[in-house]
Amino acid sequence: MSEQGTMRVKGGLAEMLKGGVIMDVVNAEQAKIAEDAGACAVMALERVPADIRADGGVARMSDPEMIIGIQEAVSIPVMAKVRIGHFVEAQVIESLEVDYIDESEVLTPADEAHHIDKWKFTIPFVCGATNLGEALRRIGEGAAMIRSKGEAGTGDVVEAVRHIRAITGEIRQLQAMDPDELYARAKELQAPLPLVQETARLGRLPVVLFTAGGVATPADAALMMQLGSDGVFVGSGIFKSGDPAARARAVVEATTHFRDAKKIAEVSKGLGEAMVGRSAKSIPENELLAGRGW
């Protein structure tokens, strides 16, 4: 008999997104621009992270009507964000038949102790992580895809680099360990032992790993791919730039041809202004998004 919502089916969609670019869009028109530029999926949200950051206040799930408008506009997968721990927002998004839920630190957390129990859902989840332990805890809760948190809405890639280097570096350490040592390491990582053992055996996370948070240029995207990311999310970087359609297309090309510097140079020509950006270091600690979630 057929079975829906298995881990293979949930993780399978993430496998199909690899090598691709997932773009934040706030309306149907932007979604169409993203699809025409070669985005492999879009993230539907009311405000891109740069605006959430500027506006302050409580950031929540988007209006279902806006999400439906985007679903009707494009044929590629549509993702939407819910607050950390807000399982009813997730139930609502699932009822809309969105393709992936991002339980995201970009929105204001709804629960300071518990993330969503993602095993209860048929729809797959992607979650942010800053290191290996956090990534494996999210997978333990049922996440079918992991992304770096980076520092969303800054246009500064430094935090995404830190997170992807942390995750891939910690995986290399696991690979070098004796199997006897993984028990203690799992305790240190505060991660489920079977996932630590599986990660050591595979030499990568058991699910797809994307980069998010601060990617603004084709070279940023290629940097993250060369560092071991399976694909990239671009949030504010596209629609906060001078020429979104051209920049979106260029980021898609650079993500595919990430080892080809000539190609990256070619697609980087004449893109106009990148998003203005804000150094992640200049942001007060209590305004950093990457610290949300645990």
């Binding site: 293979r8 089916v9 690899k18 997968p77 038949e97 898609v252």
Partner: protein, 199 residues
């Protein structure tokens, strides 16, 4: 080619190319990523993986691969497409985006996202025409084959529906054998390459 390992290219513009490379390597093939016309020219057979067909369509154009790939397939180079790869091969597609192109070399009609959105994605038992145990078919926002042209052989079915087909040196499946450890369809593909290369 007799006696040497077949070199199989996996189109690596976007999608699940890593899993196809693993499956082909498990079967002893020399599997390589293909992103440029030069890389394509060096292979004996080509896999078109799953991914987003609209993304691959654009990247096929910009990478200069569309014409050489069409020429290679027309010249009889064995090709195997899964999911989005099947869409790329299909003569006709339903529910494509405006201007979306395919190679139009496999006489079937493919309905994009034929089962619905991701919540409707599923795994189910796929019966091979050659017999043996059912395969676990993983269907991810999968296309549906709504028309099978004359002379197109059905390799596998889900219930009554065709889900894997072959026409000459062209094979295609709507599901993802690369997401399981069951490599029987990849074996059929490699056997086809061995026959072609041996001639």
């Amino acid at each position: 080619m007799a006696g040497s390992t077949p070199r199989v290219g996996v189109l690596a513009l976007q999608g699940a190319f890593r899993e196809h490379i693993s499956a082909l390597q498990r079967l002893g093939a020399d599997a390589v990523e293909v992103r440029t016309p030069a890389e394509l020219a060096a292979v004996d057979g080509i896999m078109l993986p799953g991914g987003e067909s609209t993304t691959m369509d654009l990247l096929l154009g910009s990478s200069g691969l569309r014409e050489p790939l069409a020429a290679a397939v027309a010249a009889g180079t064995p090709v195997f497409g899964t999911c989005a790869g099947l869409i790329l091969l299909a003569r006709d597609i339903e529910d494509g985006v405006e201007g979306q192109r395919t190679l139009q070399v496999l006489d079937v009609t493919a309905l994009r996202n034929g089962y619905g959105r991701q919540v409707k994605s599923f795994e189910g038992p796929v019966a091979l025409a050659s017999g043996g145990a059912d395969m676990v078919g993983v269907f991810i926002r999968a296309p549906r084959i709504t028309r099978v042209g004359e002379g197109v052989e059905i390799l596998a079915r889900l219930g009554d529906e065709p889900v894997a087909v072959r026409s000459g040196s062209i094979m295609a499946a709507t599901f993802h054998p690369e997401l399981t450890d069951d490599d029987r369809l990849h074996e059929v593909f490699l056997a086809g390459i061995a026959n072609t290369s041996g001639e």
